[in-house]
Amino acid sequence: MRRQDSLWNRVDWLLIAVFFILVILGWLNIYAVVYDVEQEQNIFSFDLNSGKQLIWIAGSFVIIIAIMILDYKFFDSFAYYIYAVVLVLLVLVLLVGTEIAGNQSWFVFGPVRLQPSEFAKFATALAVAKYFSSNNVRLDRFKDQIKSSLFVLVPLGLIVLQGDAGTAMVFISFIIVYYREGLPSFYVITGLSAALIFILTLLVDQMYLTIGVIVLATIIVVINNKRLKNIGITILAAVIVIGVIQSVDYVISDVLKPHQQNRLKALVNPDADPLGYGWNVTQSKIAIGSGGTFGKGFLEGTQTKFDFVPEQSTDFIFCTIGEEHGWAGSFVLIFLFLVLMIRIVFLAERQKSNFARIYGYAVAGIFFFHFGINIGMTIGLFPVAGIPLPFFSYGGSSLWSFTILLFVLIKLDAHRMQVLTR
């Protein structure tokens, strides 16, 4: 057997470099949020979020070393066990967890708070990868579609029960894995269409929309007057679409909670109530917009101090970058994230084992959803959903879970040549 190069030479240094840059920028940014000119504060002070975050960062380095030391086969072999443990934790947190900010999703141990749903993403990624790689799953079969989707839907359902819609939404990112593994396009198109119709319903009066659909269906029927089967399908589709349109009101007013309804309203028309439900989005956009091309400078922000935009250092952390570093800073940040995600996809594609590839796509999907939803909401392109921006938002659970996600992939990638010799 060929002598292996050391692990040091096999890891993907580009990904690790991007990781380090993001973590350091994130840390400086957390300091910028709490910085108050009136007080002389030290970035290392443990009274500040920046000091506390430094502890979490140190912890994540320990995690990285642990992942690198572990046998790469561990993740494959223990995927289901890890998944099972996390599912148990998700159930437990519903029973004995602590409710913080309306979400029953925390375990509190003295000063330390842990959010099992953050780790559920990792566990689900492992389990899905394991399931697809060890069974002959064919996603064009209805039975397999149902079976495999359960791996995602069970944790998703539990997290919805916790009241954490934002994190639950991230589990939809697994659609990317399924899509890559052969889920028929029909599902993706249907899903996207439903979302499009839903958004249109919010923007356009239901009556007009219904009339529009009927007109469209009539035109299609007239054009296709020869084929009876197509006419049937068209009419059926039109009825379903109209059903969806009519149900939007019900979904909004009866399924969604009031604050979720407001977030939708804020997305559609933030200027309607800028001091009420439009507050976050309005303030967030003002902060980002006031940054201009090159920003006001590090620690010089005026709009993102004192936690005026709620969740300033967690969910709305991107505002501080927009304000203090302007469009140039935003560009650098988005560019770094794109490099990160494209590189993850690249790594996933070069894997020899199905397990590693599928896992890689799951990681890419999770990062993509966090990136898309988080920044999207701060600039008013997505409804406000409480999920963190990877490596930037203050908080240990999310930093650790993203670190684990990323470095398990790096570890698997480093061992990709060994798979065949197993």
């Binding site: 000119v37 009136e38 007080q39 990317i176 899509y179 890559r180 052969g182 001091l275 507050w279 956009k285 003002i286 902060a287 980002i288 917009g289 006031s290 940054g291 201009g292 091309t293 005026t302 709009q303 101090k305 004192f306 936690d307 005026f308 927009g322 302007g326 469009w327 935003s330 560009f331 988005i334 560019f335 994230f337 794109l338 995600m341 494209i342 996809v345 594609e349 796509y361 890419a364 993509f368 990136f371 898309g372 920044i375 999207g376 600039i379 008013g380 392109l381």
Partner: protein, 603 residues
């Protein structure tokens, strides 16, 4: 087909990134409305200074309250003054002053607010308010200063002043900021933490021109300032006022205590000053004038002045002698005037007579018996044991140490002990004959007026005292709570007080006749403090009524002659005023006597 999906996914990622960049470009670079909104949304942090707690007298009459003033603050970084001359005219300062003030502010901090011009009154501020907004970098901050309806109790109340650099550095709690006020002496300093309250913060939306656009987010992030707690002092405002009036044009002090509680009813320093002098903008000017005054109005005599106790100490010797068993009420001692002189025409008195006639040889003998009890072999060694015993009693009486009154700068007085004499005469090279002048309250002994008043309290209580204090309770918005002060036993059995107190009662009928008040039995003792080169200090100590005492008092008037004179007269008037509420008209001549003597000429 499916292999193509990896490209679709990557394209999707990139497309989302590009959408974000385009949207960001539009809100950050293209549109100016967000920049305008941000400028119109400057959030100003305005400190809300709390009201300092009031100080009330024992009957809830106001002694100290607050009045509004405006400080002009400056942020050097933001200063833009086109026409300095006009600006200086506005505040009535010279350009030179303007430059030094700006320089001083810059030295403190470029970006933090510091005080530019202090304490404009309401009227002054109203005149310049509209013009002030034209000058960038200057902000008015409303705050309050102390106001005293009656110009009394200055030394007991103390004063507040701007917090010093050193205090700022030492303040580990980060409560204070430059320009804040802090209690510097007296009650203001001692009860600083109760009085100061808690600063609040108001976040205000202000547009670029500094015009307020309302509170930020409905004041959700504002914190209200919490006013300081009110103090209920032990002072009787009317008695204090009258006492200060009587001390007019005299140097000295008065301390009056309610014996059963240790509450100080009157606390007079003379000469004093109007506390309003140290509360306004002219604080530093007035302070330096007061500081230079040769009559030392800032010297807090009731607790800082130290006098030889004189005859008052004969009462102390009596009590210690009785408790130690070296004399009994019936003990007679011949008044031989060999070593120590005496006055009056008595020859061989018992204890009662000795106190009444203030017989020096009697207490010389008593003290000798206390010091030389023969418990140890050798006269010098025996004296050490005796003096140690005597010292312990004195300490229990509160002499030679701080009593622990609740305001700072108390003097401890002086009671020499064995180590003191060891230093002067070498170890065990002294005995009673070296230190006998202590027997009649002379020698190295020093006591403060407070200690003497407290001793009067002990006599009134027949054996104990409550630690004297100026504040008895704290009035918070929710509740009132009484402060607890410890009770100190003297170790003298209460039966021993009978003879002493009885004799004190007769003094008022004898040497201190001027202190007599109809229907009130006063027990008192004169204490003339002899001075070598000038007039004696007049001192008198008393409590009344003899049974169920309500007031214990010590009066010192410097260079005013013997104790039975003006000090006794003042004591009588104050007792009458406190117990009866007013001085009877047929005693107006006493007040007249007190008020017309020009003792300052004796200095």
């Amino acid at each position: 087909m499916i292999e193509n999906r990896k490209y679709i996914i990557q394209i999707l990622i990139i497309v989302v990134g590009v959408i974000f960049l385009v949207k960001l470009f539009s809100i950050q670079v293209m549109e100016s409305r967000y920049k305008l909104a941000a400028e119109n949304n400057v959030i100003n942090k305005v400190v809300q200074y709390p009201y300092r707690g009031l100080i009330l007298d024992r009957n809830n009459k106001i002694i100290v309250h607050n009045t509004p003033v405006y400080d002009i603050m400056v942020v050097p970084k933001e200063v833009e003054v086109q026409d300095t001359t006009a600006f200086c005219k506005l505040l009535d300062i010279t350009e030179e002053e303007f430059n030094t003030k700006i320089q001083k502010a810059k030295e403190y901090s470029y970006i933090k607010q510091s005080l530019f011009y202090p304490q404009l009154s309401n009227e002054e501020f109203a005149k310049i308010q509209s013009r002030l907004v034209e000058y960038k970098g200057f902000y008015p901050v409303a705050r309050t200063v102390r106001k005293y309806p009656e110009p009394i109790l200055a030394n007991g109340l103390g004063y507040i002043g701007e917090v010093s650099k050193r205090q700022l550095e030492r303040d580990t709690t980060n409560y204070y900021k430059q320009g804040d006020f802090i209690g510097i002496s007296g009650i203001e300093a001692a009860y600083e933490e109760e009085l100061r309250g808690k600063r609040g913060v108001k976040y205000k939306l202000v547009n670029v021109r500094g015009i307020e656009k309302g509170s930020f987010n409905d004041g959700k992030f504002d914190t209200l300032s919490v006013p300081g707690n009110n103090l209920v002092s032990t002072i009787d405002l009317d008695l204090q006022k009258y006492a200060e009036y009587l001390m007019d044009d005299k140097v000295g002090s008065i301390v009056a205590i309610e014996p059963s509680t240790g509450e100080i009813l009157a606390f007079v320093n003379s000469p004093s000053y109007d506390p309003n002098q140290l509360a306004g903008r002219n604080y530093s000017k007035n302070f330096s004038e007061l500081n230079k005054d040769t009559l030392k109005p800032l010297f807090n005599r009731p607790i800082m002045a130290q006098y030889r106790p004189g005859s008052v100490f004969k009462l102390v010797q009596s009590l210690i002698g009785l408790q130690e068993g070296v004399i009994a009420p019936s003990t007679r001692i011949v008044c031989n005037r060999g070593i120590i002189n005496c006055h009056g025409s008595h020859t061989n008195e018992d204890l009662h007579g000795a106190i009444k006639y203030s017989c020096n040889p009697y207490f010389y003998q008593t003290f000798k018996r206390i010091i030389q009890q023969g418990k140890v072999e050798g006269m010098n060694k025996d004296a050490r044991v005796g003096l140690t015993t005597w010292n312990n009693y004195l300490s229990d009486f509160g002499f030679g140490r701080k009593l622990g009154i609740d305001i700072p700068n108390e003097s401890s007085g002086m009671v020499p002990g064995p180590t003191y004499y060891d230093r002067y005469y070498q170890k065990d090279h002294w005995n009673f004959f070296t230190i006998y002048s202590l027997s009649i309250g002379e020698g190295e002994l020093l006591t403060t007026p407070l200690q003497v008043a407290n001793f009067a309290s002990i006599l009134a209580n027949r054996g104990y005292y409550i630690r004297p204090h100026l504040v008895k309770g704290i009035d918070t918005p929710d509740s009132y709570y009484k402060l607890e002060f410890d009770r100190q036993e003297t170790g003298i059995d209460s039966v021993h007080f009978t003879t002493v107190v009885d004799a004190m009662g007769e003094i008022v009928d004898g040497t201190a006749r001027i202190a007599r008040v109809k229907d009130i039995q006063i027990a008192g003792k004169t204490g003339t403090v002899q001075n070598k080169d000038s007039f004696d200090h007049s001192a008198f100590m008393a409590f009344a009524p003899k049974e169920n005492p309500q007031i214990a008092i010590s009066v010192y008037v410097e260079n005013a002659g013997w104790g039975g004179g003006v000090a006794a007269a003042i004591t009588g008037l104050l007792i009458e005023k406190y117990i009866k509420g007013e001085v009877a008209s047929n005693r107006a001549w006493v007040e007249n006597y007190v008020m017309t003597k020009a003792y300052l000429n004796n200095l």
